[in-house]
Symmetry: C2
Subunit: 421 residues, 2 copies
């Protein structure tokens, strides 16, 4: 590599969204390559509310590959990181920055070390698919830094080797992860079904549910399901393929009733497979069940789905409302059943797109306390409230795919030292 | 019919056990005949702790068929009662009681009315399969009264038309309900696999779990599962047949590890199918999940199953311990995690066979409070306790089938009036 000195640091920063599957990925056919037992489809969430920002840097002064996650140094020795780094390095191209007098040849990339800093704008522990956004961002940012010529789908096949669902975070809008047929996994990658503008009515509210239970990691959970569930293969081979084509059709036609029916049924079936695992895996708790009951009751009352629900490997509910008006009515119901604790103010109880709060006429605690029971439970005494069972809500929407951050002030590494800011 | 006057009342009283399925029945292929989509296997529970007592009476003075359940008159107009009464009446034989001067011909039975009084020695609402014991007892008592010549298996096919699982309560010990092949259901009946003495080590502890949720009835729940679950048919056709033969083998050989593995897996799969139903059905709650986790953790720690768990259409856990020693250790664990509320004494918190309480060294509240954490959670901080989450425990064992009660003092109807005592 040619450079005036060893003091230069070359950096790229990127921002990548998280995603929520509406047809679920559960079960690998290859643990190392991370090949799934079925296709899956997801909605990308607005990175304004949930995303990972990653800065990757290269410098001849770096003595080893290092990574910091949310400010804390973590090990890169795991196979998943190593696979992503190896795959990206093997595709690196020559770059030249004449102004800075930097030139890195394809061969140089194999010798240079990297610094990586990554930050989630939401609690990592909240079970909101942080690894999906994280690996997608790592791969995307490294690809830009190293002048990798592959397109997003090809990059998704690399991100997949970090975390399966990460491959779906390489695109905005509606994304399909095709399981592929090749043994080496080269065709197991994500494609965009429609961008985020195609169906921009949808509003997403995430209920972050308080949990006392330690959860099974999705990696070990899906391994145990593959090994022990007698329903998983039937789901993967007989049920999901039909749902995938029905879901593609529903998205294409912005057919909310079909979209909602498929989303809810597939979430429930994924959790059914978890329950059919030995020992059984419970990701949903009583609060998750209550949220489902509230949505199901309302949907039945309206005689057509207003809201779809889906749950990943944890108790949090991801609720997809057909439009903004419905989202307002949903938020009223959620706050009626799950009012904030006395020491929590409404403003910190609902985060993300707070404008929905205003539309719902909920600007303070008194507005929440004044909420009437929803009409679908009229005359029903079971309108019990569950204060404290939800930690907070995030209002968001479908969003765009990864972007480069050109504003250097957003970089997470110091441009002189290559160390975290 | 010949009799001195119209004042005579002829009565029979019987006692019938309840049963708990270890390979589950979930889904009918015929709603009216109550034909199941798969075979099932159950353990009959000791009627000393959980049973139904029924007195049936006939008299020319009765003006209509009437029934009292737990002292309250209920309607007999439902199809299920009508089917059982019609089937039993059509099989009635002539009887003659020369001492009382009573003779009822086969033809008379079609004209005479019946009084029926039934009583459960456990709370009907506790979700402990009261309808199984109830219809079994009704059919058994009527068959005795009417001198029906059919054997228990043939009677089970009648009880089946009252409540599917009732057919399995016609026998003690271990019972299989064969789904049958005939369209008219004549071969859908129960057979005894082994009597209660065959494997008398087993001890059963039932945790009656407090629930705030109204539950879906099993009748409508299984209808919805048949209509909407994409996993139910696969379970019925591909999974259950193998499990039935494995379970028969396990029972024959008193092979507790296999028995436990099959029992737990099949309970979980039944609840998985419920979850795969649209809208999803949740019978287990967080307390049910916790009990499963406690048992699974202990079983893993001991490296061989100590206890099997199974849950019916509700949150109550039925725990089957391999022997009395294990049952003692189980009870210690259950009381460690689920101590009674301050206002509940231990004596009313554990009902049924209280001798296990004594073996476990738990004679009062101070003994419960002094229980150490079980060794399998040593060094684990998550030894949270859940006071109040269990209403009470019932200690019992596998038990005998229906019996006639010859002691007239146990009759629920007055021998003069034929009305409830």
């Amino acid at each position: 590599m040619a450079g005036e000195s060893h003091n230069w640091v070359l950096m790229v920063s990127a921002q990548t969204p998280t995603n929520i599957a509406v047809i679920k990925y559960w079960g690998k056919s290859d643990e190392t390559l991370i090949l799934p037992v079925n296709d899956s489809i997801s909605v990308t969430l607005d990175p304004g509310h949930l995303c990972t920002t990653t800065t990757v840097a290269v410098s001849p002064s770096f003595e080893q590959d290092r990574m910091w996650l949310n400010g804390k140094e973590i090990s890169l020795s795991g196979g998943r990181y190593q696979n992503c780094l190896r795959e990206i390095r093997s595709r690196a191209s020559e770059i030249e920055d004449k102004k800075k007098g930097i030139r890195i040849t394809k061969k140089d990339w194999g010798k240079l070390h990297l610094h990586i800093a990554s930050y989630n704008n939401f609690p990592t522990a909240a079970g909101l698919a942080s690894s999906a956004a994280g690996f997608a961002c790592l791969v995307f940012a490294l690809a830009k830094l190293m002048n990798v010529k592959e397109d997003e789908s090809q990059l998704s096949a690399i991100a997949r080797q970090g975390s399966g669902s990460a491959c779906r975070s390489l695109f905005g809008g509606f994304v399909k992860w095709i399981m592929g047929k090749e043994e080496n996994g080269s065709d197991s990658l994500a494609v965009q079904l429609a961008d985020e503008k195609h169906w921009d009515d949808l509003v997403i509210i995430i209920a972050v549910v308080s949990s006392r239970q330690k959860e099974t990691s999705s990696t070990s959970g899906m391994r145990e399901s593959v090994d022990t569930s007698l329903l998983l293969q039937h789901r993967a081979k007989e049920v999901v393929p039909k749902r995938i084509s029905q879901m593609e059709e529903a998205i294409k036609n912005q057919d909310f009733p079909s979209f909602a029916q498929l989303t809810c049924a597939d979430s429930n079936q994924f959790h059914a497979v978890c329950l059919d695992t030995s020992p059984p895996i419970f990701y949903m708790n009583d609060t998750s069940h209550r949220i489902i009951s509230i949505v199901e009751k309302w949907n039945r009352f309206e005689e057509t789905p207003q809201v779809a629900y889906t749950f990943d490997a944890g108790p949090n509910a991801v609720l997809i409302a057909r439009n903004r008006k419905t989202a307002t009515l949903l938020l009223q119901r959620l706050l009626y059943y799950f009012p904030p604790n006395p020491d929590t103010d409404v403003d910190s109880y609902i985060i993300g797109d707070k404008s929905i709060l205003k539309d719902a006429g909920l600007e303070g605690r008194t507005d929440v306390e004044a909420l009437p029971p929803p009409p679908e439970i009229k005359g029903n005494i079971s309108s019990q409230k569950y204060q404290g069972d939800v930690s907070y809500f995030i209002c968001t929407r479908p969003g765009r795919g990864p972007v480069l951050l050109s504003d250097e002030s957003q970089a997470l590494l110091n441009r002189e030292t290559g160390l975290p800011n």
